[in-house]
């Protein structure tokens, strides 16, 4: 026992403090695995980030003008058919199935974020 303690005393490593958690870009829930399909609702920031990414990667859109409040036709100068395309891209991103009448009413980023956030099965 004494030999073991003596050996351990010599090879003991100095205690290091972990680097300060300055950059935690992901939210804490991304490390927590939830096993029920009804618990893991998306956080609002995640929804906003993903919606803005989809809108920014649309070829007819100027990425610097995209904010969470932007209206597709008034602010970004898009067509109504472009609106339909954006809604379809959002459906593909979040694996949703939006009924036709509801999809017709989604006109701005605000409405899209609200709809997706309140949808129980948004992925």
């Amino acid at each position: 026992m004494a030999l073991r303690a003596a050996v351990l005393r010599h090879i003991r490593l100095p205690v290091q403090t972990l680097p300060a958690a300055g950059s935690r870009p992901q939210s804490q829930l991304s490390f927590l695995r939830l096993f029920s399909s009804h618990d893991d609702h998306l956080t609002k920031e995640e929804v906003i980030d993903r919606v803005l990414d989809v809108v920014k990667s649309f070829p007819k859109v100027d990425p610097s003008q995209v904010t969470p409040d932007v209206h597709f036709q008034n602010d970004l100068g898009l067509d109504s058919l472009d609106n339909v395309e954006i809604v379809m891209a959002l459906e593909e991103e979040f694996k949703l199935e939006i009924p036709d009448k509801e999809a017709d009413k989604i006109d701005s980023c605000n409405l899209a974020i609200e709809y997706i956030y309140n949808h129980p099965l948004a992925g």
Binding site: S37, S80, L81, V84, M88, D100, D104, L121
Partner: protein, 117 residues
């Protein structure tokens, strides 16, 4: 008659625009069903978009109605027999797979052993 007042005209135009949007949405989804690979889909989607853009500036209400009816007929003719449906939506594979149990049902954890304590 095509609507004597301006309000009726605008209402009819708005209804037509909504029909066009819904038709474009369904046609785009159908295109994705047929052309599964993305590069083919982009090609077909831009062709579809050009078909819609060619008649963008039509003004006469009856002509527009006829064009929408023709478009819907083409859509019905080309509908995919096995479309992709999101799993939890009606028609998908997970629909009503795990329905919510009726309320008021509880699990009895000591069934048969209530007297034994």
């Amino acid at each position: 008659m095509s609507g004597a007042t301006a309000a009726a005209y605008l209402a009819r135009r708005a209804a037509q625009k909504e029909r066009v949007r819904i038709l474009y949405r369904r046609a785009l989804k159908d295109t994705l069903n047929w052309a599964v690979h993305r590069h083919l889909f982009y090609q077909d989607a831009s062709d579809l978009r050009e078909k819609f853009e060619a008649h963008k500036h039509a003004e006469d209400l009856d002509t527009i109605d006829k064009m929408i009816a023709a478009g819907e007929a083409t859509y019905n003719k080309w509908r995919h027999p096995d479309p992709y449906i999101v799993p939890w939506a009606p028609g998908g594979s997970k629909f009503t797979r795990n329905p919510v149990p009726p309320s008021g049902i509880e699990i009895v954890y000591d069934y048969g052993r209530e007297d034994n304590e």
